[in-house]
Structure formats: C-alpha cells, structure tokens
C-alpha cells in the first residue's frame, strides 16, 4: 500500500493535522469560469482572405514558412481551439462552448432548434473533453466539411435569439459559476436595424447582464470600414469596471490587410482575455487615520502545477473517476466521529491543549481586513531577499468608497515619481494572519504591489563558509563574461514555458486524442549553449586560467575539484574528493582504524589530543577535506558528528 501513497488524491488527509493557513488560496480557486464563444457567420466572415502581392517577390527575401491564411470565421475557430487547449492546462475546471450564429444549418441541444433559428452549437458549454476537441480538429482539417458548417444563412440570425441561447446555456450548464462570459466575434457593427428586433436584443442583453454574464466583444475592422461600437453594441454592453478595448482600432495591426497578422492579432487579444479577472479579495486601504479607500487584490503570477493524478475504475467500457471519502474514527474505539465532536487542539508537553472554536477565532483575530499604511520609505530599503511569496497587485475599486480611484492614483503617482514605497500592516481576509508588506508602485500594469516582508522568525542563519575574496584580475575577467551574456531586456517570462508542465499535457493530449506521442519535447529553459560558447567561450577559458593563477597567489590548497572538464551529472559534486580517499588508501593506512578512535575522542571531547595524521586520515576516509590547521580539522570532525 505504501507504494500507492503518492497517488492519494488527498495527501495529508491521513495524519489529522490541518494547516490553518493552508486554505488561503484554495478558497479563491473555487471561482469557476464559463466562456461561450459566439462567432458570427456571414458572407464577409467566411470570405477567403484578400489576395495580396506575395511578399517573397517584394522583399526579395524568402519567407521561412508560409503560414496559412484563414477567413475571419475560421481564424476565430482556430483561436477558440487554442484557447480550449490552453484552458485545459491552466484552468481545468472551467467550461467552454462555441456557438455559431447566422449559419444556414441550425443545431441546438435537445433538438430544440425552433427557438434558436440559424444558431449552430458547435461545442456544447461544458468542461472540454477529448471528443469535442477531436471533432473540432477534424472540422478544421477538412475544409469541405468546415465550409458546410460555416455556410451563411440567407437572413442573419436574430441577436435576441443569440443572447437568449447564451442565457439558456449559462443558466442550465454553468449554474452558480461566478464568472460567465460571452465572447462575440463579429465584423458586423449594426446587426439589427429593425426597431422591434433591436429592442428585443437590448432587453435580452439586459437579462444577460442581470444574470452576471459579461459580453466581451472582439470586433473586426477592415481597412475600408472601421467597426462602430455606438451603432449597436453600446446598447447591449455594460460598464463592469474593466478595460474595454480589445481589438484596439488605434493599434496599427488591426487595420492591416494581412489576414495572417489579423489572425495572430485576434489570437493575442483573445488569449489575453482567456482567463477572467479574478480578484483575490476586496478590502480597504487606510492611507491615513480616517482616510479609507476601496481596493481589490489580484495575483499577477500564480504557479501552475501539473494536474493531480486520480484513481480511476473501469466498469465495462466506461472509465470513472473514483471519489474518495474520509471517515474520521476514534483511534481506540473505531467509533465514527460526528463533526460536532471534533475539537482543535495543540500538542504540548505530551498532552493536548484545546480551545473552543470561538476562542480560536478570537486568538486569530487581529482586527478587520485592511491594508493600513504606516508610512513611507525610499525603495532602496527593500532588499532583494525580502521576499516570501508571490506579491499581490492591488487596484482601486469604487464599489465601497467613491473617490477611491483618484486618491489611489495620486498615491501611485507620488510613489512612482519619488521612488518611494509604503510600509503597511496587512490582513487579507477575516482571521488571516497579519503581515507587514511593502507597498510598491508597479509601472505595468499601473497599480500598487503588496510585497509581504519576512518576520524576524522567518530569517534563517547563514551557514559558515570561509571568506575568501577573489583578486581583482579574476573579477575583471568574470565581468567580461557577464558583459557577453547580458540580456538587456531583462527576464521575460513569456519566453520560458514550463517544460515539465508542457510535457505533462502534451502526453495527456496525445493519449486522449489518440495521437502519436511526440518524440522530442522542446525545452526553452535550457541555456543557449551555442551562443554562450560563441560569445563567451574564450573569455571563460581565460577566467579559468585566472582562477588557477589566483589559487597559487593566495596559497590555497584545497582545489579538490577540477573546475574544468567535470562531466556534469555523471560525477557527484564531491566526486574529486573521493580521489583523496583513494590516495590515503594507497598509502596503506587502513582508515577503519581511525574510526573508533576518532569517535571515542569526540565523545570525550578530546579530539585535540589526536595527532594530525589520524585526524587527516579520518577526514580523508569520510571524503572530507583534510587540509588546514589542526584546529580546522578538529572543527570539521566535530561538525561531522554533530550533524550526524
């Protein structure tokens, strides 16, 4: 059974220990999102991309790879497919669906086609599955069948039906989701000219709004026609306090005729919106006594881990995920324990010290959730090592205090301009442990960042390491290396996908979609060895010579490890130290003899009385350095036994 332990979907459930702070983030993660893509199908949406002069001839340069060109509708579908795959990795519990509108064919679940004419539900709103993805892939790989599905109807679909279809899908499939979004991809800025149809669409849109569904439009402009939101969409969209621009008309790319770049632009606009903005918490910020504004907290970065494994059970043809339930029993009597019987207690002096729930609440209570600014300091006081966990981005909210945004903006301006930071007492949620944080102005996105500071209790001691400073000539050579390997743009996370995560999902995808396993996995986190060799190889060599020179200058005698030519990964770090052992063995000194003697001397605290030969021999036999003065040897042996 023990081998199975790592498979337990609920690790830690067995030991009865709960970590009170552990729940912090899981609470937030229970927020689920459902996104429905609504893609308009019309003659202009399915029209093949404009032919343009072949860039190969114009530039004279050869394009490396000719990328396929898509119609707007197909580009939108391909975006949807990409988002679908991304979301399986980053938010596996979220739902997604694809609804085409304005199609000649009508397809809706339950055969309920009469209510939603010219709407084609290509992918039902649900957590994606392999079947759905395969179907979508098949369609995208077979232009004829795709053309059949994407055939526009004579008359466009009524927007009211589109909205109501979405309403129905969200209500029945994604009930109780905190985030529901309708992505509309269209190039038609005035779909309803008839007054009655318009009114109907406007009221149906209000229904969606009241249901908490956000409309996220992706409007496609063409060089000859700029999409005009005010014609129709401004009547169906509501201000939700978020940035509204998607395909920004001021973006030079958006008016580009090139269908290829339009697809890429659409993809980047949609992927930027693929995850809903989820606030960690709503709270208040006390800028001074009696000066309080409303804020919301967000995470800018959150570690994504590979999905957990599950137990599964095969019954007949069907695979099922096994659900585990934990029953708590009294250890001695094996009687089941009712929740009301459970008491939290701390171990102390071999027994338990318990508190009632009310008391625990009182103990954990350090006041209401707040970001209370205590004052301001120069940013230079924040050390690189003052970090404990991901920082929290905060942004003003007018929900509870009007005027929050302008006041927050004034605070941000001053901190940003004068290179200052705030220091704040921070309680994220009721009963959360208070921390001190730095309040740091962030340039992109504009806002403040809370950086939790370590407490005195969190600071660890430095281990002892001899202090030897490299001579200046060596430092100079190292600087040459550093200059050659300089990345002036800094660290750009987008350039480094997590290779372990990518492999995990590539394999799952291949198995789920019954495709070939890819043989080679690209790992972009591996250093660019060729470039390093090209730019710095010679300099590193010179540095190595400098290092040897320094060793003799400093009269250092502990070069146990060949700095050059060590085969990484084959030999353990202490590899060369083994040589020392061999040498002593070769001298014919049976090292075992020392062992008992040294241990006994250590126990008597009389290591000093042993001879240097014995001490060195013993150290050598343990693969430890045997250089230095006698006192050093004794220290090293003592340390060895103490840490044993």
């Amino acid at each position: 059974m023990s081998a199975d332990k790592k498979w337990d979907p609920n690790p830690g459930a067995g030991d009865g220990d709960d970590d009170d702070d552990g729940r912090d983030e899981t609470e937030y993660l229970s927020q689920k999102d459902a996104t429905l893509f609504a893609i308009q199908i019309s003659e202009s949406m399915v029209a093949p991309p404009d032919e343009e002069p072949d860039s190969m001839d114009v530039d004279g340069a050869r394009k490396k790879k000719k990328k396929p060109r898509y119609s707007n509708a197909e580009a939108a579908l391909r975006c949807a497919e990409a988002v679908l795959k991304n979301r399986i990795i980053s938010t596996p519990a979220d739902m997604m669906g694809i609804l085409l509108f304005g199609t000649e064919q009508t397809k809706y679940e339950d055969g309920n086609t009469a209510s939603y004419p010219n709407c084609y539900l290509l992918l039902d709103l649900d957590i994606p599955d392999a079947g759905g993805i395969k179907e979508l892939k098949y369609l995208l790989d077979n232009p004829d069948e795709l053309g059949e599905v994407l055939k526009p109807s004579q008359k466009p679909a009524a927007m009211a039906s589109v909205f109501f279809a979405a309403n129905h899908l969200f209500t029945t499939k994604a009930a109780n989701f905190n985030s529901r979004r309708l992505f509309i991809i269209t190039d038609d800025d005035n779909p309803e000219t008839d007054k009655k149809a318009r009114t109907s669409a406007q009221t149906r849109a209000k229904d969606l709004y009241d249901l908490g569904v956000r409309i996220e439009p992706f409007f496609i402009s063409t060089p000859t026609h700029e999409f005009d939101k005010s014609l129709f969409y401004a009547d169906v969209m509501y201000d939700t306090g978020e940035d509204l621009d998607n395909l920004d008309p001021t973006d030079p790319g958006s008016s580009n005729t090139d269908a290829e770049s339009r697809y890429e632009q659409m993809l980047s606009a949609i992927t930027a919106k693929q995850a809903p903005r989820r606030a960690l918490f709503s709270s208040k910020m006390e800028i001074g006594k009696g000066l309080t504004i409303g804020i919301k907290g967000y995470l800018l970065y959150k570690r994504v881990e590979p999905s957990r494994s599950h137990y599964i059970h095969e019954r007949g043809e069907k695979l099922q995920v096994v659900k585990g339930t934990t029953t708590q029993m009294v250890e001695e009597t094996a009687q089941e324990v009712a929740p009301a019987q459970i008491r939290k207690a701390y171990k102390f002096g071999g027994e338990t010290v318990s508190f009632s729930d009310e008391e625990i609440k009182k103990i954990r209570n350090f006041g209401e959730p707040v970001v209370r600014i205590l004052g301001f300091k120069p940013q230079s006081e924040l050390q690189f090592w003052h970090n404990m966990r991901p920082s929290i981005f905060i942004y003003p909210s007018e929900d509870d205090y009007t005027g929050s945004t302008r006041t927050f903006a004034a605070l941000w301006n001053k901190l940003f301009k004068s290179k200052l930071m705030g220091v704040a007492w921070f309680i994220a949620r009721r009963h959360a442990a208070p921390v001190l944080t730095a309040v740091w102005p962030s340039a992109d996105p504009q806002g403040l960042v809370l950086i939790p500071l370590p407490f005195a209790d969190d600071i660890r001691q430095n281990p002892d390491v001899p202090h030897i400073v490299a001579p200046n000539h060596l430092i100079d050579r190292m600087q040459d290396v550093i200059r050659q390997l300089h990345m002036p743009r800094g660290y750009i996370p987008e350039k480094y996908p997590n290779p372990a995560l990518q492999k995990h999902y590539k394999v799952l995808e291949a198995i789920a979609l019954e495709e070939e396993l890819p043989e080679v996995f690209e790992d972009k986190t591996v250093p660019k060895y060729k470039n390093i060799q090209k730019h710095a190889g010679r300099l590193i060599e010179e540095w190595g010579e400098g290092l040897d020179q320094s060793m003799s200058e400093l009269h250092l005698t502990r070069p146990q490890i060949e700095v050059h030519g060590t085969k990484r990964g084959r030999e353990p770090a202490g590899g060369a130290a083994k040589k020392v052992k061999k040498e002593i063995d070769a001298d014919g000194e049976p090292t075992d003899v020392y062992n008992g003697e040294v241990k006994a001397a250590y126990d008597k605290n009389a290591l000093n009385k042993l001879t240097v030969t014995v001490l060195k021999g013993w150290l050598g036999s343990k693969g430890m350095s045997s250089s230095g003065k006698k006192a050093d040897l004794v220290d090293r042996i003592e340390e060895y036994f103490e840490h044993k």
Binding site: K362, E398, G403, A410, A456, R460, T566
Partner: protein
C-alpha cells in the same frame, strides 16, 4: 542547536516570598514565577527529550533531598521535580508545590550544592549544556563558607550559573531598592562576587522579566536544499570553456509556521478525567457512481483502481509502469542562462521565499570562483538568471540571483521566477488617463486626481517619511526592518498555548503581548495631521451606503446610456417570473415594484421556482441552478431589508428537501445560504449556534 541540555531551577520558597514589595500587586513568589514558567514552558514547547529540567525549592517546610540524611545543613531543601523531560504531568505536579512555606530557615548555598549534585549525577561526563538558574529574594541565611571551592567546581563542571534576585540592585538596569535590609544587602554583595568568580550571570529579576517580553526566535540549523554545480556553458561539448563551481543552497527566508492544531474527538462519556480528547484516525474509502446501486454509488476496492489523469473531462489512464512517459527527466544543477540589469528587474517577478547560494565550504577554489562571480555581478549592477534543478528528475525552476557582499560574508541570493504559464492575464486600465467608450483620452476626470489632490497627497507622503523613525521593538534597528518585526500569529498562538497549559483552572485568554501589535498602527513619531486634513478634503471620499452595496454598479444602463428599464416595462408590469429566465426577471421585477405585497409575491414566486427546480432535478444536475436562484433571492432580500421573508422561506425549504432531497441541503450549507446573520443585517438576532443548528440539525 540540537545539543543536549540539563537545567536546574532553584527557587526560594521562604515565607517571606509570600510578601509584596516595591508596590507590586503580586507576591515575590508570583513575580518570580512569571520568569520561571516562561522558561519552563519555552522548553516544554520545543518537545525535545534531551532538554531536561529539574526544580529545587529551598526554605521549604520539609526536606527531601539526597544529602540531608548525612548532613543537617541540607534541611529545608526539597527537590520538587527530579531531572527529566518536562511534560504536562511535571507541570501539574510542580504547580501545586510552588507555595510560600511557613519558614525562612534553610541555606541557599546548600540548595545550590544540591542542584550541582543533580547535574553531576544526571549528566555524568557526557556532553551537555549545564545550567543552574537560581531565584531568590536574598533574605535569610546564606552560608558562604567554602564558597570558593563551590565556584571552582561550577567552573570545572562547565555549569552556567544564573542568579536572579527580586529587587536586587542593578546599576546597568537602573534599579536600586529603597531601605534595603542590611542582611539582604550583604547577601547580594556576596552572591554577586560569587557569580563573578564562577563566570555566571547576576542580575535583578525585573530585567529578566522585561527581556522575556520580547518573543524568542527559534533558531534553525541551516540545511542545504541543493548541493551541486553552478555552470556557465555546456561542459559536455566544450569542457575547456565551461565554468563550473561547486555550490550549496540554503534558505535565507522561510515561513516560520505557527504551531498547527490537530483534530481530536471529544469523548462521548462525560466524566472523563483530565485529557478527555481522543485521537482521530482517518480511513479512506473509495466509491464510484452507479445509478443502479442503492445510494447511487458503490464501493471500490484498492485492487480495482488504476491511476490516471484528467484531460478536460476525459479520463486518461496511465498505468504505474507508464508513469515515466509523463515524467520530465532532468539532471540536477544550476545552469546560468544569462545576466540581466538589476534596474530592469520587475520586483513582482519574485515568487518565492529566498535562498542563498554559497560555494562548497570545503573547496577554496570554488569559493574564489564564486567570489569573482559575486563581485562581477555587483560591479556591473546585474543579476544572474538561471535554471535550477535541485535533484535529478525534479522539475526545473527559473531563478534570479543577486550578489550580496557584507564585510565578512559573500553569497548570491536566489528567488524563483514565473514561467510563461504562470502569468495571469489580467488587464487593468491605466491610472493616469481615462479612455471613454468612443476611445477619447481624457486627462481630467472624476477618476483622476486633481492638481489639488495630487499636491495634498505629495505633502502627506512627505510628512509620513519613516526614514528617521527607529524600530518599535529594538530602537537600534530601522523602522519595520524585518529583524524588528515578530510574527504576530505565531507568537500569539504559542503564548495562549503556554498560558492555557500552565493555568488549567483559568479559562480566560491572556491579553496579547503588545510587542506583537506594535506595527499595526502609524508610529507616534509621525505627525501628519495637518497634511492629512488637507488630503481628506481634496480626496473627497464617500462611503457607499450599505444599502446600495451588493447592487452592481451601472446596473440600470448599458454603455450608451439607453434606458432599458423603460423598454422592459412591458414585461415587468405583469410581475410574473418565468422559470427559464428566473433570475433576470426577478431582478428586473424587484427593481420596478413599489408595494410590499408585490415584493412578497415575487419572493414567493422565486421560492416556488427554487423548489420546483430541486424537485425536477435529475439526480443533482440542476442543483446548481436552484442554488443560484436561492443566492440571488437571499442577496436581494438582504439588500431590500426584508430578510425575514427569506428566513421564513429557507425554513420552509429545509422541510421541503428533508427526505429524498437531503443532499440539496448540504449544498445550501456549503454555500452558506441559511438564515441571515447579524453581520448581514443588523436587525437579525440569529446567533452562530442557532445558525449552525439550522444547517446541521434536523
């Protein structure tokens, strides 16, 4: 840290210790016990078997020690607790015995000899840290004959002696007792000299008590989390032009977690003595759904289970043997990717606690090599970016490393960086401009600070400058320097555990140590009042009234400002809610009604819809929909201040689902959709017990 330790506390229990001095409300003994219990419970909470304690009382009513048989000078000395690991039974045993006696007879020096005897017999010649802590009020008889020999012995045995006296004079601490008894003065002087002779500590207990107010920080021995090689370049293809340094990685910061509570069961029988909590064992059983089976699920044995992953909704079985297919194979090491300018490092990229990277301490060459990298980075104002694998086959992490150069220490500090997948795609509108729906850029707007507000803010921030404010706990540190700030929760929990353990009869929680909350308010040194007043008036903040909260902003109108409510009138007038569009219609109808009876009707209709959805649900498929309606209903009832209507309905609902829809009730409980609490509407009188009984009870 993990050295064995033996400590004997010698405490004066004379009748005179029952008196009060120096305007204290507690007796001398109670005063001394503050210190004693703090030390003892600190030892108990580390839970180490090799950190042992003995307690000796002197000037006790009787005598109980190993030497009194042969020598009457050891009378009135009692070993209250023999040398052992201190656990709750020892604590309880000791508590009853720390009472002032009815005598002032007994020799303190003899008690000290008993303590030395205990240590000698217990520790023999083994390696121990030996301590004697001696607490007295300094009155009575001290036999200083042969004291020089005793001092020699203490030194010889390596015992650390601490003598703490009640109201002893201490120039450094700044205390001098008025009208000191001449005998006490004489004893004090002699004890002080004695302490000097055996290199012990001598002080007044007030100072010791003051010191224990500062929380103790548990020291942790550094343990390397990685030992391997830092490399630049690929040694397998270019062995001569690859930089390889043996390095080790140790934590620099690591969350010190508060003690964690475990779950226990309260014994069902009432009259259980003492420790009435019983250990809980968790057993896990596994089920799959089966519509045909009673209870709609059947148990599955371990042997019938395989392992797999979810790809979306699709189950992907991967057998244990095939695990390697998913695993990402790696080789341990720290590979440098490149170097980045320090100034361009975006601070929010730091995702983790920090570690230090030092060279292998037994390898001088590595030390010099790393030193050149540290200084090189420092002089070029750069950071190194690396790919770290701490152990073979562990997933790699990206790290940034900054140089740290102190007078006698050099290292790199390393922190983890995000991968591409870790980026949360959040969009935030800029704070310095406002864009309108039509794309117009505005520089003046209610969301932007006016010049006046900006100036007031600038002045306020300048007046809140912390640069010259000292640390609140240790004035030699700067304000809010991490070394000056203690984890409030960690020490608070430790404090209450220790207090509860030593005061079993008292159920009050002790007041929080003010040291822990020093950093919760603006320091007194700052006086920004004038600037603050100006800032307040310029900011012109208005709280949104509670009633309006919970309502979404911009609810009424779309971006164009179109009056949709008017368009809706046709529908809302009927005051009928249809089941397939329940939530929007309910919200729109509620908006438009004016009469209370109409609202009651709407609440009733919505309630009926909830019940009907539950009733018609296939298994639990439609429960989410019902819960959503219920949540909206509850929210509206609270914001319309008609929570009584909701409470009445939810009680009815509980009856309704009792029976074959009881699983729905557990969802109601999970979503906390029960009775409205006073925190939600102050008129509510429901206590948390009542609320819980409603959720859990029948």
């Amino acid at each position: 840290m993990a050295e064995k330790q033996a400590t004997v506390y010698v405490i004066d229990l004379a009748a005179s210790m029952g008196q009060r001095h120096s305007e204290r409300t507690e007796t001398d003994l109670e005063y001394a016990q503050q210190y004693l219990w703090d030390r003892i419970t600190a030892t108990v909470s580390n839970g180490r078997k090799t950190d042992t304690i003995a307690v000796v009382g002197f000037r006790t009513d009787g005598s109980d020690n190993s030497l009194v048989h042969d020598d009457s000078s050891y009378e009135n000395i009692t070993v209250l607790s023999p040398m052992s690991q201190f656990l709750m039974p020892q604590i309880r045993g000791l508590q009853g015995r720390l009472q002032p006696s009815h005598t002032d007879a007994g020799d303190g020096i003899s008690a000290l000899v008993i303590a030395m005897d205990i240590i000698e017999k217990y520790c023999k010649k083994l390696k121990y840290i030996r301590n004697i802590v001696f607490l007295t009020n300094g009155t009575g008889v001290y036999d200083f004959d042969g004291i020089d020999d005793i001092a020699k012995q203490i030194k010889g045995q390596g015992i650390k002696l601490t003598v703490l006296g009640i109201d002893f004079d201490d120039e450094d601490f700044g205390f001098q007792e008025e009208n000191k008894d001449s005998n006490k003065a004489k004893n004090e002087t002699a004890l002080k000299k004695f302490c000097e002779d055996c290199e012990g500590i001598f002080g007044t207990i007030a100072e010791a008590i003051e010191e224990i107010q500062l929380p103790r920080i548990k020291k942790t021995r550094p343990v390397a989390s990685f030992k391997g090689q830092l490399t630049i370049g690929d040694s397998s293809s270019n062995p001569n032009s690859t930089l390889v340094i043996d390095v080790e990685r140790y934590p620099r910061t690591m969350v010190a977690k508060p003690p964690s509570a475990s779950s226990y069961a309260v014994a069902s029988e009432e009259n259980v003595e003492g420790d009435s909590l019983q250990k809980i064992r968790n057993t896990r059983t596994y089920q799959v759904e089966d519509d045909a089976a009673p209870g709609k699920s059947i148990d599955v044995g371990q042997e019938d289970m395989a392992k797999g992953y979810l790809y979306g909704r699709t189950i992907v079985p991967i057998s244990a043997e095939d695990q390697d297919v998913v695993k990402f194979e790696t080789i341990a090491g720290l590979d440098i990717i490149g170097f980045i300018p320090k100034s361009g490092f975006d601070r929010p990229l730091s995702l983790s606690n920090t570690n230090i990277i030092v060279a292998s301490k037994v390898n001088d060459k590595a030390i010099v090599a790393l030193s050149s990298l540290i200084h090189g980075l420092y002089e070029l104002d750069s950071l190194a970016v690396g790919r770290l694998v701490t152990k073979a086959d562990k997933p790699p992490t990206m790290v940034a490393m900054a140089p740290v150069i102190e007078p006698d220490y050099e290292c790199l500090v390393e922190v983890q960086l995000p991968f591409a997948e870790d980026i949360r795609q959040n969009k935030f509108a800029p704070l310095d401009v406002v864009k309108t729906v039509t794309g117009k850029v505005m520089n003046k707007h209610r969301l932007l600070p006016s010049e006046e507000l900006q100036e007031a803010m600038d002045d306020y921030i300048d007046s809140m400058d912390l640069t010259n404010v000292p640390g609140l706990n240790d004035p030699s540190l700067s304000f809010a320097q991490p070394d000056d700030v203690f984890s409030p929760l960690l020490h608070r929990i430790q404090q209450v555990i220790r207090a509860r353990a030593t005061n079993t009869d008292e159920n009050r929680l002790p007041d929080i140590n003010p040291v822990l909350t020093h950093y919760s308010t603006i320091p007194q040194e700052l006086t920004p009042e004038e600037d603050l007043a100006r800032l307040k008036s310029a900011a012109d903040i208005h709280p949104v009234p509670a009633k309006a909260k919970g309502r979404r902003t911009g609810r009424e109108k779309p971006l164009s400002g179109l009056d949709v409510t008017k368009l809706l009138e046709g529908y809302t007038k009927s005051l009928r809610i249809s089941k397939d569009n329940a939530i929007p219609e309910f919200l729109q109808a509620v908006e438009s009604v004016e009469q209370k009876a109409d609202i009651e009707s709407l609440v009733r209709q919505m309630g009926d819809i909830v019940k009907s959805i539950v009733k018609q649900s296939v298994a639990d498929l439609q429960y989410g929909q019902a819960l959503e309606c219920l949540r909206v209903l509850r929210q509206e009832c609270i914001s319309l201040e008609i929570f009584e209507l909701y409470d009445a309905f939810v009680k009815e609902l509980k009856q309704f689902v009792d029976g074959d829809r009881r699983d729905f009730w557990s969802k109601v409980r999970k979503e906390k959709l029960g009775l409205v609490l006073p925190s939600e509407d102050e008129r509510s009188t429901v206590t948390s017990e009542e609320s819980n009984r409603f959720y859990y009870g029948r």
